[in-house]
Symmetry: C2
Subunit: 178 residues, 2 copies
């Protein structure tokens, strides 16, 4: 039920259409909470049916902007402060790492190098965001304060993964019993 609350949270900042929300998920949220547009439109309809959001306006090209209702705001706030955090982490790269011993040394080195590069790039992207935010590019609203916190998490996690992949390359290759 996180997408639901993700949408409500974004709508708490102000009205937006499904398209807007899909874009925001695609940009900043893409790597921490992927969501495709079909899911988003479907969920918005469900939220509207439950009275947690309402159509604020209909624009050109069928655009429907939604506004969060009081009930919706109460729901996100309740979720944030009273519902247990789901700490589930499902990281395929880590699952794979358990099976590195099945790879030959060359493939493994290539793999780790590519992983390191990937994580380094994303970390760098987040770092750029952080710099822009700290420079004041996005203003100083409470929302962007929170965004800054989320970005910091991105920087730290992806940096940690990049460092890990680098470190793993220095591990002595397992003496492989063929």
């Amino acid at each position: 039920m996180s997408l639901r609350h993700g949408l409500l949270g974004l709508l708490a900042e102000g009205p937006a259409s499904g398209y807007d929300l899909a874009r925001r998920f695609g940009e900043l949220l893409g790597s921490i909470w992927p969501a495709q547009h079909p899911k988003i439109y479907a969920e918005l309809n469900r939220l509207a049916a439950e009275g947690l959001v309402e159509v604020e306006s209909e624009g050109p090209r069928r655009r429907k902007a939604y506004r969060i209702t009081d009930a919706g705001l109460a729901e996100v706030k309740h979720w944030l402060s009273s519902v247990d955090v789901d700490h589930t982490m499902r990281l395929q790269p880590l699952l794979r790492s358990l099976f590195f011993w099945l790879m030959d040394a060359d493939d493994l080195q290539r793999h780790l190098a590519a992983e390191a590069q990937f994580y380094t790039e994303i970390a760098e992207q987040y770092r750029q965001y952080a710099v822009a935010k700290d420079r004041g590019d996005f203003g100083n609203s409470p929302q962007t304060q929170s965004m800054r916190v989320a970005i910091e998490a991105g920087v730290r996690i992806y940096s940690a993964l990049a460092d890990w992949a680098d470190w793993a390359q220095t591990m002595p290759p397992a003496a492989k019993p063929e």
Copy 2:
């Protein structure tokens, strides 16, 4: 399709029953790739039907131990070196952090403190594992070498999250426009 390859990878170490595999997923793998037993049994049956694993022996209490076949081994290896890594990350705690501005300062501090504690504990657990491995408790097989690498990732990620939660507590609370 990661569960599939996770099972094949574990079976590459030696024959095991669904029950054994479910336990291994519950222990070490629990926090990086959760999997409940119904999924595991179902997937094993599918793998057997496709000839990637085969029943090695039937023991007491209906126990069926599976052994990976050559085709199965080829399949994991192919996955490891030729299939693109899925970097999807879906971290509810980070999603929530985007909406911290909706929480009142007290709730937020409590939340962050609890998160920090949670991550610190898990990081510590992984650190213990790492120490045990480095002490040689699990031998020095290539498999445990890889396990060591995976554990290191756990240590680093959870430490990063713990540090992040600590850092977030020191952020000036957003001047909240009520």
